[in-house]
């Protein structure tokens, strides 16, 4: 929670006294936004978990175990790692990304334009920044929930090779936020949901398939590889996989974390601008 609201406070740059008051109010009222989301969630959490977890679980079975049979017969994943252990941490990160990307698109659009939940909230002392902070926390909360549950599934499959694997959970949450923040910024600029289909077709799905989830990006044509380096998912997957396999490379891992954090910070910064422009005019 602190991680998500901290980058917001410094960009509010009115007079110092007012800033103190505002950030106090922000922290407080964004919690109320989160509280509202949680109340709504109480009704639909089972089906949310089901649809969030069923896809990565089925991929784990099909790819990790079924296809894994053939990959392992052929020498396994790079370094001779069993294929299941290779893709399990990657799926943990991609499921968090998928859920967060979805949550940042249609549901946020609905709150802005369709059900206009935000407009109702703005009639109270809650401001646009609080709404943003509240819903980012909300997305983070669910990313934690899904990731912990999926991690338990992976453990049950015996698909982790190191105690460090538990660090894949915060990595998944950080990756989720590195998508949520920029997508929310984008959502706030959209009049209709038409562009979301494009975002998923040409953004999220290709990332899922080409960011090193199922095979090392070194297998991609040379000219495409740099593309993978600039997307957050590649960094999330590499980081989580390193922890899960117990292969820590401090320099590379720091770069991965820096890229992910960069996406979160810049995303939130832009989102704050687009949110205020959309809601506080």
């Amino acid at each position: 929670m602190a991680a998500s609201s901290a980058p917001i406070a410094p960009v509010a740059a009115p007079a110092d006294a007012r800033r103190g008051l505002m950030s106090a109010l922000t922290a407080h009222s964004s919690l109320r936004v989160l509280e509202h989301d949680l109340l709504v969630f109480r009704r639909g959490w089972r089906s949310y978990m089901m649809s969030g977890l069923s896809q990565p679980f089925l991929y784990l079975l099909s790819m990790g175990i079924g296809l894994g049979l053939y990959v392992n017969r052929n020498g396994g994943a790079p370094g001779g790692v069993p294929y299941l252990n290779y893709i399990a941490p990657a799926l943990l990160v991609t499921q968090a990304m998928m859920a967060a990307a979805f949550e940042s698109a249609w549901p946020i659009m609905s709150k802005i334009a369709w059900e206009k939940t935000y407009l109702a909230a703005l009639n109270t002392p809650i401001g646009a920044t609080s709404l943003l902070a509240g819903d980012i926390m909300w997305i983070a909360f669910r990313a934690v929930l899904l990731s912990v549950l999926f991690f338990v599934v992976i453990l049950a499959f015996g698909a982790v090779s190191s105690p460090l694997a538990v660090l894949a959970i915060p990595v998944a949450v950080l990756t989720a936020l590195s998508f949520a923040a920029p997508i929310i910024a984008f959502t706030a600029t959209q009049k209709t949901d038409q562009s979301f289909n494009m975002l998923f077709r040409f953004g999220i799905t290709p990332l899922f398939l080409f960011s090193g989830t199922f095979f090392p990006i070194e297998k991609l044509p040379l000219f495409i590889q740099p593309l993978a380096w600039v997307t957050p998912l590649y960094h999330g997957v590499s980081l989580a996989r390193g922890f899960s396999l117990g292969q820590v490379d401090p320099v590379a891992d720091l770069i991965h974390v820096a890229v992910l954090a960069g996406f979160v910070v810049v995303g939130l910064f832009v989102a704050r601008i687009t949110f205020r422009r959309r809601l506080e005019l």
Partner: protein
């Protein structure tokens, strides 16, 4: 009375009016249709070539071995035909049926509900055929580039075969949708589609399963579609492809029959 210049349009041409209506709608959102063409290609490159490099060669049912991409390409074609048909007949059809009340207005004209159902399935197939043709063209181009994914002249039959797969899932999907009451119910549909996509011998031979499970998978529709198209593109047709075609056609026709019954019940009270 006013001139009665109108004759009742023939049963054959009436379903095409639905297609005309949908074409008008999609003229504006052309990109939505066009973009659907890329998804199977993304999977083809990711699975066929990326994962393929890890898998190496795969053994077909008749004992011959082929590159993984050759194995997975026909399966992705079948899955794409399934997904296209399901998408059009689930969410889109449900929206028109329950929210837009589109068909309530149409049945006041000489169009019958049977015309509506046939027209919508025809539309789903036409839309699906775009993707199938696109996919096959890309495969052909890869073939010219030396990455032959189709190893038999029979591969040309993959097009009608994919249409049969599309018909089966369009009919069944539409039938399922007539029982749907709220959007969340589609989660259950996904719960059927997703496992089929992942476990129907799409990404690895079903010989990986214990015998009982193999028999079960062989009874599922996507397995039959994958088997049919793979038999054609790899040049290994056996008698089972007759079973595939019969199974899929029956599935589509039974679906269509249920749709007729259900729409009558829902709209002609």
């Amino acid at each position: 009375m006013l001139a009665l210049r109108l004759s009742v349009p023939s049963t054959l041409t009436r379903p095409t009016r639905m297609v005309e209506r949908n074409l008008l709608v999609y003229r504006r959102t052309f990109m939505v249709i066009f973009s659907g063409f890329f998804e199977p290609l993304f999977y083809l490159f990711s699975m066929g070539f990326g994962v393929g490099a890890l898998v190496g060669a795969v053994q077909l049912e008749n004992g011959s071995t082929v590159a993984y991409a050759v194995f997975v390409a026909p399966a992705l074609l079948a899955s794409s035909a399934m997904n296209g048909a399901i998408y059009e007949t689930s969410n889109n059809f449900f929206f028109k049926l329950k929210y837009a009340k589109l068909y309530d207005a149409i049945i006041a004209t000489p169009m019958s509900l049977r015309d509506v159902a046939r027209g919508e399935i025809l539309w789903a197939l036409l839309r699906g055929s775009l993707y199938v043709v696109g996919f096959l063209v890309v495969i052909a181009v890869l073939g010219i580039a030396g990455l032959g994914l189709i190893s038999s002249p029979l591969g040309i039959l993959a097009f009608p075969a994919a249409m049969v797969v599309g018909f089966a899932f369009a009919g069944a999907g539409m039938a399922a949708t007539t029982f749907v009451r709220k959007w969340q119910d589609f989660d259950f549909l996904q719960l059927a589609i997703m496992p089929m996509f992942l476990f129907s011998g799409t990404f690895y031979p079903i010989s990986a399963y214990p015998p009982a499970l193999q028999v079960f998978v062989q009874c599922t529709p996507l397995y039959r579609g994958v088997h049919l198209i793979r038999a054609l593109t790899t040049g290994n047709p056996d008698v089972w492809i007759a079973v595939d075609v019969a199974y899929l056609m029956a599935m589509g026709l039974i679906g269509l029959w249920i749709v007729g019954k259900r729409l009558n019940k829902l709209l002609l009270a």
